[in-house]
C-alpha cells in the first residue's frame, strides 16, 4: 500500500516521467478554467499578475536585456550593410559573416526574449474548451437537406435534362482549351532523338581546345579524351547529344566491338582507327556524361548513377541501371589524316524513350 512509504522517502521513485506526457510545467497553474462557456458559470478572470512577482521581476529584466541586445544587433546589421563593401570573394564572405551574425543575434535575442516573456513573466493560465462532434446536429442536417432539395427543384436542373446535358456539352471544349493551348510549348519530338549532328566527314575536335586530332597525337594507350563535332562548339543542344569519348587501346586489348546497325548486330572493328574507339559520352540511363575511365579495367563509369560500361567490349553494361551499351561512332580518317566521323551514330544516343524501339 502506498501509505507505507515513509514520509520524506519518496525521492527514489521521483524521477519517473512517462514519455509522451507533458512536461511538469503547470506546477503553479494560476488559473485552471474548467468550463470555457462563461455565460452560465461566472467565468474566472484572467489573473493580472504572475504568482511569483519576484521571479517575474527578474525575468522581466532578462527579457528587456534580450530586446536591447536585439536592438543593438539590428543596428549592427545596418552598419555592416552600409560599411562593408562586396565584390571580391573574401570581401563577400566578410560581409556575409557580419550581416549574418548580426541578424542571427538579433533574431535569437528576440525569440529568447519573447519566449521568456510568455513562460516567465505571464501568469501561467490553463483553460479548457468543449470539443463538439464535427457532425452537424441532426436538425441542421435535415433542414439543410430539405432546403437543398427544394432549391434544386426550383433551379429546374433535375427536371430539364436537355438544359443539363447541353450545359455539360458546352463546358467540354472549354475545359479542353487549357490543354490545347499548351501545344506550342515545344516542337513534336519526331525523329530528332534518333540523330545527332555527326555526319560523314565531320571532324572530331577536342572539347575545350576545339582543335582537330590525328591518331599520332592521341597515341598513349589507356587515355581517354572528349571530342565534339566541329562547327558545334557553342551549340549546347547539339553537344548534349553529340559528345563523344575517344579511347586509345594498346594493340590486342580491344576486342571486336559490336554494335547494333539498325536492328542487326554487326562487327564494328572497322569503325575504329588505329585502336582508337569512339563512344557516345551520353549515358544510356538518363543522359549524364560518362566521364570517368579506369585504364586498368577499361571501365567507363557514369558518375551520376554508376552505370559501368566495358570499353574493350563494345561498351557493354557490366553494372548499374543503364540497360544498353553506349552507342559507338564510326571513325575514319580524312585526307589530312585527322579523325572524322564515318557517319552519324547508327542508333539513338542517350536515355531510352518510348518510340525508340
Amino acid at each position: 500500500m502506498s501509505d507505507e512509504v515513509p514520509e520524506g522517502e519518496q525521492s527514489p521513485a521521483r524521477p519517473h516521467r512517462v514519455i509522451g506526457t507533458p512536461l511538469p510545467v503547470p506546477s503553479s497553474v494560476d488559473v485552471a478554467e474548467r468550463e470555457s462557456d462563461s455565460a452560465a458559470t461566472g467565468r474566472e478572470k484572467m489573473p493580472a499578475d504572475p504568482a511569483d512577482p519576484v521571479s517575474a521581476k527578474r525575468a522581466e529584466r532578462i527579457v528587456a536585456a534580450c530586446f536591447i541586445v536585439a536592438f543593438i544587433a539590428g543596428i549592427g546589421f545596418i552598419a555592416a550593410y552600409v560599411g562593408l563593401e562586396v565584390g571580391p570573394l573574401d570581401a563577400v564572405l566578410r560581409s556575409n559573416l557580419a550581416l549574418g551574425l548580426s541578424l542571427s543575434v538579433a533574431l535569437t535575442a528576440l525569440g529568447l526574449g519573447s519566449l521568456l516573456w510568455v513562460r516567465r513573466v505571464m501568469p501561467n493560465v490553463e483553460t479548457a474548451e468543449q470539443r463538439h462532434p464535427m457532425r452537424s446536429p441532426s436538425k441542421d442536417r435535415e433542414a439543410f437537406q430539405e432546403y437543398f432539395a427544394e432549391a434544386t427543384e426550383t433551379s429546374q436542373f433535375v427536371k430539364r435534362p436537355l438544359l443539363r446535358r447541353t450545359l455539360m456539352l458546352a463546358t467540354l471544349p472549354l475545359a479542353a482549351i487549357p490543354i490545347v493551348v499548351l501545344r506550342d510549348l515545344g516542337p513534336l519530338p519526331g525523329t530528332s532523338l534518333r540523330y545527332t549532328v555527326w555526319k560523314r566527314g565531320t571532324r572530331a575536335v577536342v572539347y575545350g581546345t576545339n582543335r582537330p586530332l590525328t591518331p599520332a597525337e592521341f597515341n598513349t594507350p589507356g587515355s581517354m579524351i572528349t571530342v565534339i563535332p566541329e562547327g558545334y562548339e557553342d551549340d549546347q543542344d547539339a553537344l548534349a547529344k553529340a559528345g563523344v569519348i575517344l579511347i586509345k587501346f594498346a594493340p590486342g586489348e580491344l576486342h571486336i566491338p559490336t554494335n547494333y546497325n539498325g536492328g542487326t548486330l554487326v562487327s564494328t572493328m572497322n569503325w575504329t582507327v588505329d585502336n582508337i574507339v569512339a563512344y557516345s559520352k551520353i549515358c544510356t540511363h538518363v543522359g549524364c556524361p560518362v566521364a570517368l575511365y579506369e585504364q586498368t579495367t577499361h571501365h567507363i563509369l557514369c558518375p551520376c548513377h554508376q552505370s559501368t560500361f566495358d570499353a574493350a567490349n563494345g561498351a557493354n553494361v557490366i553494372f548499374g541501371p543503364a540497360a544498353r551499351a553506349l552507342p559507338q561512332l564510326p571513325l575514319t580518317l580524312n585526307s589530312q589524316g585527322q579523325l572524322v566521323a564515318a557517319s552519324d551514330f547508327t542508333q539513338p544516343v542517350g536515355p531510352s524513350f518510348w518510340e525508340r524501339g
Binding site: Q10, G20, A48, N96, G100, Q130, D237, C304, S352, E355
Partner: protein, 584 residues
C-alpha cells in the same frame, strides 16, 4: 469588459471603428480564448510554416535581381575566376546576387537553407502526425493536404535549385529530362513541351522560374491556408494527459499565450536559418561553374529531399523491355514512380485502411502514444527504413569512399536492405511496442518500484511499490484496444462456418488485418475493460486465437452492421473505478 481593466483610449477607438464596420467582437473574443494544447511536437508544423514565410520573403528579394534567361552572355563581374566565360544570364545574375549585391549571398543562402528546412520540417511533422494517429477522423483531409504539400515542395525545390543554371543543378536537370523521356507513350512529348524542344534548349529556366515563383508557391499558399483553417476549425489534437479527453480540450488560450509562443518560434526559426546561412555554406554555385552538357563532377548529390529518387535510380538493376517497336525503360520508370508512390500513396491510403481493419469510425482528438498502436508504429518505422535505405544509396559513392567499401558492394547491400530492412524493422518495432505496452500494464498494476524493502510481521521481505501519479496514470490509461472484427459474431463459429462478414476475399483479408491490430497488451483487469481477457498475463503468443476470443466477448452485444457502428472504440476505463491498484 470589466471596469478595473484599463484599455487605452486609442485602442478603444480603433476597436470601436472596426466593430462598427465588421462587428465580430463576440467572435473575436472566442477566437482569442481558443485553447491550444501544449507539446513540443506541435511546433514542427510551425517550423514548416515559418520556413515557408521566410522563403516568400527571401525569394521576393532574390527575384529583384535574378534574370531568368538562358541567353548567352560573357561574364565580366566581381568573381575573377570566371571572367570572360560564356554563361547563361541566369548563372551570371546569380553570380551578381552572390558577389555584387550586398546581403545577396546571405539572402540566397537563407533561401536555400529555408527550402531544405521546409522539407525537413514537413517530413518530421508528417511523421509526428502519423505516429500519434493525428490523421484519424475527422482530420483525414488535412492529412491528404499535407501529402500534397510535401509533393509540391519536392517539385518547388527541384525547380528552385535548378534555376541558377550551374553545373551541378544542370546535371540534375539532365537527369530529370532523361527520366521524363522514359515515361511510356507521352514521355518524349512531355520532355519536348517542357524544355521547348531537345535538351537543354532555351526555355527551361524561364519556364521553371514562373512555376517556381508563382504557380507552385500560389498552390502551396492556398493549401497551407486551407490546412490551417481546417486545423483551426477542427481544433488541435492533444497528447493524452489528465482531464484531456475527446470532448474536453485543455491548453492555453490563443491570446496572449499561443500568439506569443508562436511569434517566439518564428524568430527562432528565422534565427536558425540565419545562423546556418552565416556559418554553413550552401550551394556555392561559383565553384561549380556554368552548365555545359558534357561536364560532370563525381559525388554529385541533389538536395536532401531528392536523395530518395537519386538513390532509387542508382539502386535499380538494368531492366528494359523492347516490344513492337517500343521501349519500356523500367530502369528509370520504377525508381521514378515506385518508392515515392509506395510512400506517398500508402500514406494517403493508410487512414482508410486503418479504419477498415479496425472498424473504428469514431472521432479522435486525443492522440495515441506510438507504442499503443503497434501496427501503425511498425509500419511507420518500416517506411522510415525503406526511405532511409533509398536515401542513403543516393550518396553511395560518398559512402563507398568514406567507408572504403567497393561501390558495387554498397549498391548490392542497399538492394538487399531495401527489401529486408523494412520487414525486419516491422517485426522488431512491433515487439518493442508490445514490450513497452507490457511495461505500462505492469506499471499500472504494480506501481513504481521504490527500492525500499520492508519486512513483514511474518518475516517476509517485500519491496514497496508506489502507485503512479494521477497524471501518469491518465496517460497510461489512454490506451485504446481495437475491436475484434466482425463485431458481434465469431469470424469462424464452432462448426467451422465463417460469419457472413468474414467471407470472401475482402472479408478474410479484413479479419486477417484486424488480427494484426488486435495484438496488444490489455490494461490490467478490473479497470473496466471489456476486451482482451484472453490475453491476460502473456503476450503475443495468442494472436491467432485472439480474434476468436475477442469475438466471443463481443458476442454478448447485439449484432451490428460494421459500417454503421457509431463508436467503435471500446469503453474507456472510468478513472474513478480504477482506484488504487498498487500492491505491496
Amino acid at each position: 469588459m470589466s471596469d478595473d481593466v484599463h484599455v487605452p483610449g486609442a485602442l478603444r477607438g480603433l476597436g470601436n471603428w472596426v466593430d462598427e464596420r465588421f462587428g465580430g467582437a463576440g467572435y473575436v473574443r472566442t477566437l482569442m480564448k481558443k485553447v491550444f494544447p501544449d507539446h513540443w511536437s506541435f511546433f514542427l508544423g510551425e517550423i514548416a510554416l515559418y520556413s515557408f514565410v521566410i522563403l516568400l520573403l527571401t525569394g521576393t528579394f532574390l527575384s529583384l535581381f535574378f534574370v531568368p534567361s538562358m541567353n548567352d552572355v560573357v561574364y565580366h563581374g566581381s568573381y575573377i575566376k570566371l571572367n570572360g566565360l560564356r554563361m547563361s544570364e541566369a548563372y551570371a545574375s546569380t553570380l551578381r546576387i552572390s558577389f555584387d549585391v550586398r546581403g545577396g549571398l546571405l539572402i540566397r543562402q537563407i533561401h536555400h537553407w529555408a527550402a531544405d528546412i521546409f522539407m525537413v520540417a514537413i517530413t518530421v511533422h508528417m511523421l509526428r502526425i502519423f505516429f500519434t494517429g493525428a490523421y484519424r477522423k475527422p482530420r483525414e483531409v488535412n492529412w491528404l493536404i499535407g501529402i500534397i504539400l510535401f509533393s509540391l515542395g519536392l517539385i518547388e525545390g527541384l525547380f528552385g535549385y535548378s534555376l541558377p543554371d550551374d553545373q551541378l543543378s544542370g546535371a540534375g536537370l539532365r537527369i530529370f529530362e532523361g527520366v521524363l523521356q522514359g515515361i511510356p507513350i507521352v514521355g518524349t512529348y512531355l520532355a519536348y513541351f517542357l524544355f521547348g524542344g531537345g535538351f537543354p534548349g532555351n526555355d527551361i529556366v524561364p519556364r521553371m522560374y514562373i512555376i517556381h515563383v508563382l504557380l507552385i508557391p500560389g498552390l502551396i499558399l492556398a493549401l497551407v491556408t486551407a490546412h490551417l483553417l481546417i486545423m483551426f476549425h477542427q481544433k488541435h489534437t492533444a497528447m493524452p494527459a489528465k482531464d484531456q479527453t475527446d470532448t474536453h480540450e485543455l491548453g492555453q488560450p490563443f491570446f496572449p499565450y499561443f500568439i506569443a509562443k508562436t511569434t517566439a518560434w518564428l524568430f527562432f526559426v528565422f534565427a536558425a536559418l540565419a545562423i546556418l546561412a552565416t556559418f554553413a555554406q550552401i550551394n556555392p554555385i561559383w565553384q561549380y561553374g556554368p552548365y555545359t552538357p558534357l561536364a560532370i563532377s563525381s559525388a554529385s548529390q541533389p538536395d536532401w529531399y531528392m536523395g530518395i529518387l537519386e538513390g532509387a535510380l542508382r539502386m535499380m538493376p538494368a531492366w528494359e523491355i523492347n516490344f513492337l517497336g517500343h521501349t519500356l525503360s523500367l530502369s528509370v520508370l520504377i525508381p521514378f514512380a515506385l518508392p515515392l508512390g509506395i510512400i506517398l500513396g500508402g500514406a494517403a491510403f493508410w487512414p482508410w485502411f486503418e479504419k477498415w481493419a479496425t472498424g473504428d469510425n469514431s472521432e479522435h482528438h486525443v492522440l495515441d502514444r506510438p507504442r499503443n498502436a503497434a501496427v501503425r508504429t511498425s509500419i511507420g518505422i518500416a517506411v522510415v527504413v525503406f526511405y532511409g535505405v533509398l536515401w542513403a544509396e543516393g550518396a553511395n559513392d560518398v559512402i563507398a569512399n568514406k567507408l572504403q567499401i567497393p561501390l558495387y558492394t554498397v549498391t548490392w547491400i542497399s538492394r538487399v536492405l531495401v527489401i529486408v530492412g523494412p520487414i525486419l524493422a516491422y517485426f522488431a518495432t512491433k515487439r518493442i511496442c508490445i514490450g513497452l505496452q507490457r511495461k505500462d500494464a505492469e506499471l499500472l498494476e504494480h506501481g513504481l518500484e521504490t527500492g525500499i524493502i520492508v519486512q513483514r510481521p511474518n518475516g517476509e521481505f517485500e519491496e514497496i511499490h508506489r502507485p503512479v501519479s494521477e497524471e501518469a496514470r491518465a496517460v497510461l490509461e489512454a490506451k485504446k484496444v481495437p475491436l475484434a472484427l466482425p463485431v458481434g459474431a465469431a469470424a469462424v463459429d464452432e462448426n467451422g462456418v465463417s460469419a457472413p462478414q468474414a467471407r470472401g476475399l475482402m472479408g478474410k483479408m479484413r479479419v486477417r488485418a484486424n488480427q494484426a491490430f488486435l495484438e496488444t497488451i490489455p490494461l490490467p483487469a478490473g479497470d473496466g475493460h471489456g476486451h482482451g481477457n484472453g490475453h491476460e498475463g502473456n503476450g503475443h503468443g495468442e494472436v491467432e486465437g485472439g480474434g476468436q476470443e475477442h469475438a466471443a466477448v463481443g458476442a454478448s452485444t447485439a449484432p451490428a452492421e460494421l459500417d454503421r457502428l457509431p463508436d467503435a472504440q471500446p469503453q474507456r476505463p472510468d478513472p474513478g473505478a480504477a482506484g488504487d491498484e498498487s500492491e505491496s
